[in-house]
């Protein structure tokens, strides 16, 4: 029934595809980053591009800024999503069902969609400043705080929150609905406070799903290009824009350096994800799963 031959047959489509698209891309990139790039007559293996990358101040500060930014925005999305999922779970009436249905909407729409709406709403000539001026709460649109292309990346964070809070809600609701409510009832009977029930019963049961969503959001915010490109501040560039600009300049002599940046970033992201997963397994409830 569960024969070895059948297993190999089942695993081969993914293995072939993955090796073809993902593994081969990374092997080529690693080889190039080590200085083997015959097209440009480079054939000696060297670590000098990694050394250059690790000494490049712009790259390092941009990476650090992007890391903090991704951590903050993904963390906010998880907190907001968790809070709203708990509210939605408790409201079992039509309002709650309606809220859950709506939470699925942003997951289905592209980022550019909310960028467009945000520009029309929050840029200094947008609808919100006009409304405030009309109401007399603001002397002129120039007094409205800069929320788009601002140095604090608020526009980007708002875009990500609009997309990711609902994503967290959807992933958590699937777990929350399948939870055994009797555990909470037992806790209550034994005299646990609401906070204790949340902290010792509910949270451990949903933490694997929450941390999975965190990893996906963090990696996305760390490496996505379109939102920082349109809503970012040119003087506080984020990493994806930095790398993309570097790559499309088309300077082939820079390819080994770009590829070494890519490899460093990928390693870093995988290590971060690994650390979060390790943490998730160690925390109460970790045996329930996670990325499986």
């Amino acid at each position: 029934m569960l024969t070895k031959k059948k297993l190999i047959l089942l695993l081969s489509p993914f293995t072939i595809f993955f090796c073809f698209v993902f593994v081969s891309a990374f092997i080529k990139s690693i080889v190039t980053s080590l200085g083997y790039y015959p097209l440009m007559g480079l054939k000696t293996l060297t670590f000098k591009y990694y050394m250059t990358a690790l000494q490049d101040k712009t790259f390092l500060t941009t990476s650090l800024r992007t890391f903090c930014f991704a951590l903050l925005s993904a963390g906010l999305a998880c907190l907001g999503g968790l809070a709203l999922a708990l509210v939605l779970q408790r409201s079992t009436g039509p309002v709650g069902r309606f809220g859950f249905k709506l939470a699925q909407l942003p997951v289905m729409l592209p980022h550019i969609f909310v960028i467009l709406a945000l520009l029309q709403l929050l840029s200094q000539t947008g609808l919100v400043p006009s409304l405030l001026v009309h109401l007399g709460w603001l002397k002129g649109p120039q007094h409205f705080p800069l929320l788009v292309n601002d140095p604090l990346q608020i526009g980007i964070i708002l875009t990500y929150l609009w997309k990711e809070i609902p994503f967290v809600i959807v992933s958590l609701m699937l777990v929350l609905r399948s939870l055994d409510r009797r555990y909470s009832a037992v806790g209550q009977n034994l005299g646990a406070s609401k906070l204790q029930i949340f902290w010792h019963i509910s949270l451990p049961m949903i933490q694997p799903a929450l941390l999975n969503a965190f990893i996906i959001n963090f990696s996305f915010n760390f490496g996505a290009y379109e939102v920082p490109y349109l809503l970012g501040n040119p003087r506080r560039e984020l990493l994806p824009v930095y790398i993309y600009d570097f790559y499309v300049q088309g300077d082939l002599t820079q390819m080994p350096l770009i590829m070494s940046l890519n490899i460093l970033l990928s390693l870093f992201a995988v290590l971060c994800a690994g650390a979060v997963l390790y943490l998730s397994r160690r925390l109460p409830g970790g045996h329930l799963g996670g990325l499986k």
């Binding site: 993955f18 993902f22 289905m108 550019i112 969609f113 609808l127 993309y244 970033l265």
Partner: protein, 263 residues
């Protein structure tokens, strides 16, 4: 007690407004004329404008076609790869299973920009940039984690006891697959299909870079219009996007729900 219900309802209503606001802004942008600063409302609403665009704008129609073609190709490739993978992950234990499932999720963990520049660099070498196959390969890479997860969750729930029974009663492997495994995993397949459709439709940089500008999908075309401040035409693309994603998915979802309740 009832105060809490009211509090919760207020939170949900604020949440709903925040979700719906961008959608409303885009719908009004697409039909409103002269909606510039300092106007709070569009000068006039021309509902015909959108439909004239939808029937006469050749660029819009061609990008709609490109979006649907890529999504269709991606769905086929993704399901062909994800379904056997999910069966293996749900029913078998084998050495290296952990590593294998980590590989499925890697495309979501590695930063998009690094992954895409690497793949673009490799695809140039195989001269796959700008081809249909090249683009659906990249889309599939990003769809697989979701598709496999949805399918595995569904299959694990069922366990393979029905298959074992079928085989014990003398059914051939193909019979068990077509009469038992496939019908039982229908909900999982439907979920995977919907998610793949969405992920493929919303891709921006993957389509642009690996597609080399040959596949200007709806989300790709919205980009330059937004950047140049041509919000109305960008919103026309946005509304078209909503029409081809939200409406069919909503109809499919409610049909499935009704089926589930009946069956």
């Amino acid at each position: 007690m009832s105060r809490k219900v009211i509090q919760r309802s207020i939170i949900i209503i604020i949440f709903a407004l925040l979700i719906l606001m961008p959608l409303a802004v885009i719908v009004f942008l697409s039909v409103g004329q002269q909606w510039h600063y300092p106007r709070l409302f569009p000068g006039s609403l021309d509902w015909g404008y959108y439909f004239r665009q939808l029937t006469t704008n050749v660029e819009l129609l061609s990008s709609l076609r490109a979006s649907l073609l890529l999504a269709g190709g991606t769905i086929i490739l993704t399901l062909v790869i994800a379904y056997p993978t999910a069966i293996a992950l749900a029913y078998y234990t084998f050495p290296g299973k952990r590593l294998f499932s980590v590989c499925v999720y890697l495309p979501l963990i590695v930063p998009g920009i690094a992954l895409l520049t690497n793949i673009d660099f490799m695809m140039i070498k195989y001269s796959l940039t700008g081809t249909f196959f090249g683009v659906i390969c990249v889309h599939t890479l990003f769809c697989l984690p979701y598709a496999v997860k949805l399918l595995v969750d569904n299959l694990v729930l069922l366990k393979n006891r029905y298959e074992v029974t079928g085989r014990n009663l003398g059914a051939s492997p193909w019979q068990t697959f077509f009469k038992i495994t496939l019908p039982l995993s229908k909900p999982g397949l439907q979920g995977a299909l919907m998610m793949t459709y969405i992920v493929s439709m919303t891709q921006y940089l993957a389509t642009l870079m690996v597609g080399n500008g040959n596949y200007l999908t709806l989300s790709v075309r919205m980009f330059p219009f937004t950047q140049e401040g041509k919000y109305q035409i960008a919103a026309v693309y946005g509304v078209t996007f909503m029409l081809v994603t939200l409406v069919p998915l909503f109809i499919l979802d409610s049909l499935l729900n009704r089926q589930r309740k009946r069956g």
